[in-house]
Assembly symmetry: D2
Homo-oligomer: 338 residues x 4
């Protein structure tokens, strides 16, 4: 690390924490000063991998140490709010894993607290640090695909089954954050249907529709009970169409020069359509790990005071959509305004 | 053809009619006696391809000729009912393309008429004659995948845009017929959301959810405004999972020995799950053209009087689901009982 | 057909003959007047599919009929020469399936005879009528991929096992014709190795290398004993690289903006390389059936007297390469000059 | 690490060294005690990633330290022999990256020296520690695919261009080691052809054929000048066929129940064949990193004195094949006995 590297603590070393720890460890601008987790076996592994890092079962140690100026919270979602709040109160800069909190009220409280404490509050919407998503944003913003018609995302996999949080809150935040980022808008209303198979009251699969301004329809399918790992987003525009397949290493983003146009006027009420099917283009995408970009950005914000790209407000927006979707889920798919 | 081959007329030679004509022509048990279409250029092509087949712009010629005992109706959906009715009244056996009709009332009228006329009424649910679908049915029926949890289908493509019928009625009938066939049940309720981009009042994309008895959730995505041709159905069971990809020639049906099981009892409210991820098996699927199977079955039913696998009642069930889905679509996705 | 459609006879209705028959039947400019085959059951099928076409077990009937002006020869390779010769002597225009003959001497004799008889002699190198191959030729000719470095083709499958002709003569002619067409050159020398598993003396798998002028190396793998159908050609140029995958419907031709460049001078004997890895482009390829293009071109040549793109000389070049490769095969892979 | 963890030094931190260092660091039974490399910038990175590891530009420091009992040599191939020899003489256990040496004589000298010094000599044939390769070995050994007919491997990529060693020595060792491991035999003769495009005298692409006892033919294509990363091995047996695709995460090993059988006797010299095309099976493959298995095995051998699976003799066999192939390459593809 550099002499003036920022000391960071990672709180929570379950599924995602190891990735945060590895990235902060690898960043020259940061120092992985401390890792906290309740599981002693996990901590022993941390000690072996990062012998100069302090390990502890008590995350409050991270908050107590003055040399630690930033913490990353990767604990179960239900604890995000309490730990982030405590960290901000202790004067730390805080990166919270997605979703930022379980309610909009909690997210708002964190935003207000960070403001008051003059500390960085950032949410770990990893895909907003993904070069493939940046490329798609650039294409849409430049008008390359014309008017956005609709988009749909499939994020399914086998495993990482949760018992305290459903697939909506566990998996869909990624796609909600991507959609809000790409469309630069909040949905007007959402609707969600799901089904419970493994743990009472916890949806294993969720189908979510979001209606954005301008007749833009979006659909998200989230499941941890699926035979294959799929992470695909399709965006259909009036001029071009984009398929983003995150598990395809050679062709992450495909731009299809395809579209349907109405020909002339409708004679006798019948429209004629011209289907245009042209070339496909696969732009080169920078292969840096999105989480590395995210961690580096957090460190940069801590150092300079600049506002993170995925600040508290950004985290709040996603939580608002999830809250509305949860309400729809509980009402059997009824449309809920955001 | 054989000396006692059944004379068949194909009414409608647009998108699907040529496939019906080709198959009846190739079947030894049938003779393609007549093709009717309003477009003279199409008829000229028929005359060139099948020089011994009568061509006409007046489909009533088919009904008038006594040697023609069976007709296949492949006209626009809005005309299915009228033409099929007329054909039955003329004493013909009738194969109607999917969907059988635009309303349950019409479908019921056709069923009653066929009964009264003692003629075969069959609906062209092609996928119920697809060896891949037969294989999946066999696996589910044998309990191979355990309890069916949920299923989802993507049927999207670019092209074949309609102006008089939306993606629900044009594309989704395939998946609805497959689901009803595989699950051997009617959905309790359905919900559909869609969006209109090309022709006023005609949804180009539709997201449909169906709730079957026993907590089986199904989802269908249908669109003619998509960059790629996708025809995929995933079925998740408690013991195994199946992916049916109709555009994959080598691996149409994949059986995943995968599942998630609860371990022991929940301590302190926390469940433990064991994810099992075993082998994948790809059974050999007979490569006969489904439409050939369908046409052969129709001829067989005409010849023997046996009831078709996809009889009028089968066509009616699909129409009932579509009707309910259409109502949901018009009510912004509200749940509608079937 | 048109009134002045060309009457064509197809001789040989085994594996490829049905495709020729179907295409000549479908072409407005041609009339499938006669099909000859030794197998009565096949002929019965022809009679059913094409009721106005004459069927016969005696191909000489085709040669005897004055109204038949052109014949397509799709018989076993060992009979190509004799039947084509007889047909030319009878004053017919002749399309011969690949390879044109079993020896260069035979091919030369056919060329001389066609010249003397003033009749069209064309060889059925289908891939030279394939829009994907045309596109690649266009790219190479325009200098798009820079200098061609090397190329390799895999053409393997399970089935269509031969007992009288090895994989070199049965499968490799396609790739040899493509390579000669794309590179516009004859190889200086060839080398082939193979192995025999099913029929004594008949190689089931062959690995062929061809050295073209300008240090262009090419490699062809041909086998009918392989688990999957692969038809892939990769062409590596100094500026770009092309992959042509004939079984990929969405991305038949991929153009990779990739290359390796030497940086500056070698210091201390060590070179530095810069690897450039840019976008991938998938041009839209016209989807017309190559065999239809081929059949239409044959009819056009018969009608106008123009020289076919794949004339006798073109067929001879491929036979010369195969003859040299066969000699290498018999000498255990020794290099043989063409 | 454990208290009695084995101290390991990694010599060479270029392309492969970092992977060795990471794995030794992660293994509880080992301690990454030292990393040596000539490049100070690389060493700075090591110091940051592994703050308790000694870094040095002088690899002899590793040999001088008594607490370091084992070294892994990942330097340029031309230095393998000298450094491994020096390390053995210093009493260290040695893991050498593939290929073990540049000549059989050097490999033999290392084997003799290790014997004499009673130290472990192991070669880093990573694929012999790959669970997918283990699975294939198991299938072949159990007779599952019948008699092995032939095998072919494609190992191509863009990048990692070498100036001092050709694609034969740099890339093909993987496939040669896999083939020798699976077939449990040495080839009788080999033949290789290649082409030079980037650095004088260094083949960028090589096509290698190997003839094994029992009429087993094998083919290896190696290139660092290719648009896509391909790592595929196909093995055709008399009863079944296997495709091993190392870059496919879901279906690394596919077992095809496919084969061709001769039917009855040849009448009139004509054989009849029956093509059997059955199911495809994809066995679950353990996902542990092969290099981790390899490093753990090395540590285990150092600790217990057991002979490594890829001992010096194993490394020698691969070098012998490469030497013969190099001679063939220099003689334009002439067959060379091994």
């Amino acid at each position: 690390m550099m002499t003036n590297a920022i000391n960071v603590a990672v709180i929570g070393y379950g599924y995602w924490g190891p990735n945060l720890a590895r990235n902060f460890h690898q960043l020259p601008e940061a120092r992985l000063a401390l890792v906290a987790d309740l599981d002693a076996a996990r901590l022993a592994e941390v000690a072996r991998l990062y012998p100069t890092t302090t390990v502890t079962t008590d995350y409050r140690q991270a908050l107590a140490r003055p040399e630690i100026v930033a913490v990353a919270v990767a604990t179960p979602v239900r604890t995000h709010f309490a730990i982030a709040q405590e960290a901000l109160l202790a004067g730390k800069h805080v990166l919270v894993e997605k979703p930022l909190a379980l309610t909009a009220a909690e997210a708002e409280a964190l935003i207000a607290l960070a403001e008051q404490q003059q500390r960085t509050l950032m949410v770990g919407h990893t895909f907003e640090y993904n070069p493939a998503v940046w490329k798609i944003k650039e294409l849409i913003a430049a008008g390359e695909i014309g008017q956005v018609y609709y988009a749909y995302a499939n994020r399914v996999n086998l495993g990482r089954v949760q018992w305290d949080i459903n697939a909506l809150w566990n998996i869909a935040p990624h796609d909600v954050s991507i959609l809000l980022y790409l469309l630069e808008a909040m949905p007007l209303e959402v609707s969600a249907r799901g089904a419970v198979y493994l743990s009472q009251g916890v949806e294993d699969v969720v189908f979510l529709t979001l209606t954005f301004p301008g007749n833009v329809l979006a659909h998200v399918q989230a499941s941890w009970l699926d035979p294959s790992k799929v992470r695909r987003l399709t965006i259909v525009g009036s001029e071009k169409m984009i398929v983003y397949d995150d598990v395809d290493n050679e062709a992450k983003v495909k731009i299809y020069d395809k579209g349907v146009y109405r020909k002339g006027n409708a004679a006798y009420g019948e429209f004629q359509f011209r289907v245009h099917s042209g070339d496909i283009h696969i732009p080169r995408i920078d292969m840096t790990e999105p989480l590395r970009n995210e961690c580096a950005h957090f460190i940069e914000c801590v150092r300079t005071g600049q506002r993170p790209r995925t600040d508290g407000a950004c985290g709040l927006r996603v939580v608002r959509v999830l809250e509305a979707a949860q309400r729809s889920l509980e009402r059997g798919g009824a449309s809920v305004q955001v």
